[in-house]
Symmetry: C2
DNA sequence: ACCTGAACACCGTTCAAGT
DNA sequence: ACCTGAACACCGTTCAAGT
């Protein structure tokens, strides 16, 4: 089981290293899912004991963070490599990475929450924000715009990955568009009094192309960024807000 | 909800019920956090054995789903109660609920992923979408707009709750604005070559009022919704796409 | 019908002991 | 320095047995 190539009296290359451990962890996560990664399964794959891993890695959460950072870094450098750049590239880079590694979405929200100044969060923020700063928008809106885009990208990409997994559960034949039909079908069963909006949306059909749907959201937010700075950033503790904010919006569909 | 008007006065009301269990679970989550809820701690609180709970609830995931549904339903009915309605009310209703119950944010993304047609997801989608449909925007954009708003609300509110928890760790004195200063400080330590954008944002100072910041994001997305349908959805890599009947919308907003 | 609580099959993590 | 693997303190869940 153990390699015997020991020509040099010098120290042999260690069979265990942080990098190899992270590699194996990613492989396990990809093939067996989040619950498939345990220190026992990992040590078995690496042909060691569970305790050995702790010499290279502090614990499970650090291991997960390292795996997340690795995958995100690759996705971001690939995505931003091309000359055109643009928000679509960054967004699709993350979108594809999350689709390829479904465990990534929950891990990313964990990183955002538990370690907002950590490398993962900062990398994504920087990559997204750089594209925002290239838009025609005042610098005062950068933070808000980047934040909105980041949350949308992570949320929508995670949703897409989850949908794909559920589509697979539907049967080996089913793809995403079949699954979207299932969702629309479920929505049409809802009560008209309680869920008029959801039913209306189901009636008009859901976009079957996941990338088109995803990028439509990106473009919508970009439109908001370039449209106009959200007129008022006036400070007001608590509630008293000036009434200027919401245009009356010619009440064509009033929520009842 | 539950009948407690049992006729026999000497007969005590049933010591265990699904409702009581969910109540206790929420209490435990609020006070002890996500890791504080175990079947053992829960059964101790309810003065029973761990196995007793399984007669009323299928398992832990169902219990979590029920707790999430309960809190979300309350937040949404309170939020939409007022006559003005509007997106701000729905958004702030969820924002406050997540701030009050920090375990809610991860649970909501779990619900979205694992049960997209379940009651929690559908309730939030409907409440948000109803406000979207009241805006001055074409129905064809409703799904995209609702999806973008939902992901932003959940992501940003979760981030805020996480920030509050981290601020508390900073010391009992620290509030959110002190924590934002800490974040900005950390950002300024970043290398100028690798993180120019993040540093620039840190320099211009972060909004200290969490609600103002949150609503700025909402307004930005709303601006995108009402501005105009996103002009160009140009796809890379030839992809056959049915031409939507979308008017070109006098291109004033072009992402460069 | 509802509840008990011991038992089972796991976990992450530790640590004396080995090389 | 690096690794072993038994042991510890938990988990969620089950189930024969009680009322």
């Amino acid at each position: 089981m153990t390699p015997q190539t020991r020509k040099k009296p010098e120290r042999r290359t260690s069979p265990l290293s942080r990098e190899r451990i992270v590699d194996a962890a990613i492989g396990l996560l990809d093939t067996a899912g989040e619950s498939g990664l345990t220190f026992r399964s990992l040590s078995e794959r690496l042909a060691t004991g569970p305790g050995a891993i702790y010499w290279h890695v502090a614990g499970k959460s650090e291991l997960l963070a390292a795996a997340t950072d690795r995958v995100v870094t690759i996705a971001l450098t690939e995505g931003t490599a091309g000359p055109p750049g643009g928000i679509h590239d960054v967004a699709l880079g993350l979108f594809d990475a999350i689709e390829e590694h479904p465990w990534l979405a929950p891990q990313l929200t964990t990183q955002l929450s538990h370690n907002p100044t950590g490398p993962v969060t900062t990398r994504i923020f920087e990559a997204t924000g750089r594209q925002v700063s290239a838009l025609d928008a005042p610098a005062s809106s950068w933070f808000t715009a980047t934040s909105a885009l980041m949350h949308y990208i992570l949320g929508a990409a995670g949703q897409n990955a989850a949908n794909l997994a559920l589509a697979r559960d539907l049967g080996p034949e089913a793809d995403r568009s079949a699954y979207m039909d299932t969702v629309a079908g479920a929505w049409k069963q809802l009560s008209p009094e309680d869920y008029p909006f959801t039913r209306a949306v189901a009636d008009q059909g859901l976009e079957h192309d996941d990338r088109v749907q995803f990028l439509a959201g990106i473009d919508l937010i970009v439109a908001g960024v370039t449209a106009r700075p959200p007129a008022a950033q006036q400070l007001r503790e608590g509630r008293a807000r000036a009434a200027e904010a919401e245009p009356p919006a010619s009440g064509r569909t009033s929520p009842r």
